[in-house]
């Protein structure tokens, strides 16, 4: 995997939100851009709450970078979460991308062959990574 540098956002505020016992997200945002980093596992138990949390945290942002490099497990049915986030980003006319780790990349390969979920490598020209 090509190393990706995630710059800290200037003038940022940071928020840590637990999403159940096995997942935590950290939001770092300015008035325009948001970086949401998740750590843990995403499955049928927390996928919907995870999607709701990310979309609520990033309301009003023009760009969202969803950093999933520290997600150690993404269940097949939890792929619905990034698809739900995608739908919300489309409705809000916001630009977004996922930074996948190996576990997420594998499920995207298996379950999103059309690549509807944009990865940061594909969106690097649009999203500051």
């Amino acid at each position: 995997m090509t190393p990706v540098r995630v710059d800290r956002l200037p003038g940022r505020c940071m928020t840590t939100v637990p999403v159940g016992p096995h997942l935590t997200v950290i939001l770092e945002m300015t008035s325009r851009d948001a970086v949401v980093a998740a750590t843990g596992e995403i499955d049928a138990v927390n996928a919907r709450l995870f999607a709701d949390t990310v979309t609520n945290l990033s309301v009003g942002c023009a760009t969202l970078l969803l950093d999933l490099r520290r997600v150690g497990f993404l269940a097949v049915d939890a792929i619905a979460a990034p698809h739900a986030i995608r739908a919300q980003m489309l409705r809000a006319d916001a630009d977004w991308a996922v930074l996948p780790g190996p576990a997420v990349e594998r499920v995207l390969d298996l379950c999103d062959p059309e690549r509807l979920v944009p990865t940061a490598a594909e969106a690097a020209h649009r999203i500051a990574v």
């Binding site: 499955d43 097949v76 049915d77 619905a80 298996l110």
Partner: protein
């Protein structure tokens, strides 16, 4: 057969217990020293089998029944067999299921496992997944099991 070669659970088939059994299986699997990608593929396939039970097997029952989970390693053949059994009803995916997602579960298990067997009966369903090439490179790791 030693304790490290088997892992057994019998729990109520719900999403929380699926997560617990999956995490226990993932910890138990570490003793075989698989690559991260291979390890993740096994956990993904096993989670799918467990999740199918939690989601579908007891959908016509007032309360969820149990799911029986067993993982057995055969050192002689370097293969791992995972059995996921329920006492519910088999349900074929329908058009109302999430498109292109739920219907992928069984093909996905077949693609991730080296052998897949599904036995359907009026008293329940048993899914058996076989993974080859497991534990044929652990060598001295037997004394360093971390579960």
């Amino acid at each position: 057969m030693t304790a490290a070669e088997t892992l057994d659970h019998c729990v109520v088939a719900d999403a929380v217990n699926v997560g617990r059994v999956r995490q226990e299986f993932s910890r138990w699997l570490r003793q075989f020293g698989l690559s991260p990608d291979r390890h993740n593929d096994l956990v993904l396939a096993v989670n799918e089998a467990l999740a199918n039970v939690a989601e579908f097997a007891y959908v016509q029952s007032p309360t969820p029944g149990v799911v029986r989970f067993s993982a057995q390693h055969d050192a002689a053949t370097a293969s791992l067999t995972v059995t996921v059994a329920d006492e519910g009803r088999w349900r074929e995916p329908t058009a109302s299921d999430i498109p292109d997602l739920r219907g992928r579960g069984i093909p996905l298990m077949r693609s991730l496992a080296d052998g897949t067997e599904i036995k359907i009966s009026p008293t329940g369903t048993t899914v058996r997944l076989r993974f080859d090439g497991i534990g044929d490179n652990v060598g001295d790791m037997a004394g360093a099991v971390q579960v």
